[in-house]
């Protein structure tokens, strides 16, 4: 059984994450602050850490850096502050993924599963990449390319393509995409998804990978090579 360490100073959020991760069959340890988190990493050697950024004393960014000095364990950051996302992405902190608060706990469990799956495949920086056919995406560098050629994508276009690529061959509904890309707290038209899909399709062209429409359901990304 894989073990996940959940670090957050909010008891309710620890409890919530625990509920959903245990439901997915993970063993869950919790820690309420940075020091306890480092101790728990040492004692329990978790397979993945869910780490909140804003905590008293030692914040999540520092905890992440400290863990990275001695361990390669996958880390999923949680943050309620929009400006933290820049720090997570920009500082090459070594985090494997991040989610903004409020987050959908089911999505959290799904991300944890995806990261663990990727972690089994390889190790090191390769974990931040996903590929479908000739398409490869590195979310930490925010780069997407087909073969050798870089794609020029806007933020939402990138996130959309990444979401589809992480679920290769699986249909994602417009609502799922909206929540995943635009956020759990986004209230907008599902039509937004269609408009962005059109844009991304135009940029991909016909080069061995395609976003297919599944009528009445949503979209999926497949290799067509």
């Amino acid at each position: 059984m894989k073990t996940v360490l959940v670090v957050d100073d909010e008891a309710n959020i620890r409890e919530l994450a625990t509920l959903y991760l245990e439901k997915e069959g993970y063993g869950v340890q919790t820690a309420a602050d940075g020091a306890a988190a480092l101790e728990a990493v040492r004692v329990h050697e978790p397979d993945l850490i869910v780490l909140d950024v804003m905590m008293p004393e030692m914040d999540g960014l520092e905890v992440c850096r400290t863990i990275r000095r001695g361990s390669d364990v996958p880390i999923l950051m949680l943050t309620a502050r929009a400006d933290d996302i820049d720090k997570i992405v920009g500082l090459e902190l070594g985090a494997d993924d991040y989610m903004g608060k409020p987050f959908n706990p089911r999505e959290l469990a799904a991300r944890v599963k995806a990261i663990l799956r990727r972690a089994e495949g390889g190790s090191g920086p390769a974990r931040s990449t996903v590929s479908v056919g000739p398409l490869s995406i590195d979310w930490q560098r925010r780069e997407a390319s087909i073969g050798e050629e870089q794609l020029t994508l806007r933020t939402k276009e990138f996130d959309l393509l990444r979401a589809l690529a992480e679920h290769e061959g699986v249909v994602l509904t417009r609502d799922q995409l909206l929540e995943r890309v635009w956020g759990y707290d986004y209230f907008g038209e599902t039509r937004t998804v269609d408009v962005h899909v059109t844009q991304v399709r135009r940029k991909i062209g016909e080069r061995g990978v395609a976003i297919q429409t599944v009528r009445g359901v949503g979209y999926k990304l497949v290799a067509t090579g």
Binding site: I13, L16, R81, A82, D83
Partner: protein
Amino acid sequence: MRGGSLGLRIYGGFGVVIVLTLGVAGIVFFSLLGGYRAELDRNSLQTIADQVLFGVEQFRQRNVTAVQLGAYLQTQSSETGALVFFLDGDGRVQRDLSPAAEYEDLQLPVKLSDARVRPNIWIPGDVEVNGDELPFVARLVLVDQRDNGVFVAIALPDAENSDVVSDLVPRLLISGLAGLGVALLVGLVITRSIYNPLRRITGAVHAVGSGRYDTRVPEEGPEETRELGRALNRMAEQVQENEQTLQDFMADVSHELRTPLTSIRGFTQALLDGTVRDEEQRQHSAQVIDDEARRMLRLVNDLLDLARMQAGEFRLQREPIAPTELLEHIVEVFAPRAEEAGIALRTEVQGTLPPVSMDFDRMVQVLNNLVANAIQYTRQGSVTLDARIDSANVGSNQLGGDQLVITIADTGDGIPPNELAFLFERFYRGDSTARRRGTGLGLAITREIARAHGGDVDVHTVVGEGTSFRIAIPVAPASEPA
């Protein structure tokens, strides 16, 4: 003069000053020159006249005739260039002895018949000829055999004078133009040293105005523009700081709202999708949702309160309140919670205190905040409320005079010195506590309320021994801000 650029004004100003200077200098110069010329003329006239007279004296000794004298004087006139006239006793020209001989019959304003009395003096005078003042000297030169006086007048023609003027005017104009050119060059340099920093400062002000708060100008140029540059840089820094504070505040608000929202939506979903199943878990989830919803509501209320206070949009409803009444109210409210926490909550009021003008509800809000904090951060021991009339300085307000000072002292862990400075800031909560129950706005609101009363609040703490907050409210309501 309202419009026009500074550069134009400086140039224009230079131009006006130069033209005025040249004009005044020219006028003064010519009037002085006129006087000087007249004096010169008179001197040379006198010299010529004395020379003529000397010749005449020679003739007199040889008993010459008037005709011979006339011929002599004609020679003198053509040699010296002076005008020489024979006059009658009333000053009328009898004969013009000059080569041109153009002034026959000219009336000179001089009466010479009297001159016989003192015949040895040249009598000076001026006659107007063709609009020019023509200076002359006249005298009796000899008396003939028939005892008739022979009168002679000598004058210098005016031509030389106008020559000098027409000579000088173009020179003066040239020197004026040269002066103007140099002045404009100097003006350009001066304008640049004033105008360029000003233009840079104007550009920077526009930049700050359109949101580029990191704009700074070099502090250069004359003292005034350097000062202006310094002032602008200070302002830009301040604006940038405020902007940063606002950004941080927005991020904090976002964080403080999203955190309970995460729990509310998460547990709602857990209820909806059946992740929580048994009755006990469902109860617990509902309780979490309720608690977090209250927390959000409290935060929204506190934010609105603070916003209103800082916008100056809230009015105190003052009435005379006995401090003991206030403290008793608080103790009554908190007694159960203190008992539950195993902490002694008591008041220590010495004697009777006079009523002080306060807003009861707002003061209760302040004390609720401080007492709740004190109980929360005290593991064992006591929380003591004290009220007295004092003149101590509390906070940054140098109040002076009598104040009601209420002290809330606990025997908790104390506050680390590095946290004291931020204690009253919005959303600051001591890092050293894992218990985060409040909204992070309580102390900021407390300070706003104390200040609205014309007072202030401060804190003294000893790590490991305890913390005491003091609120001071001036007793004399006159010292409060209206």
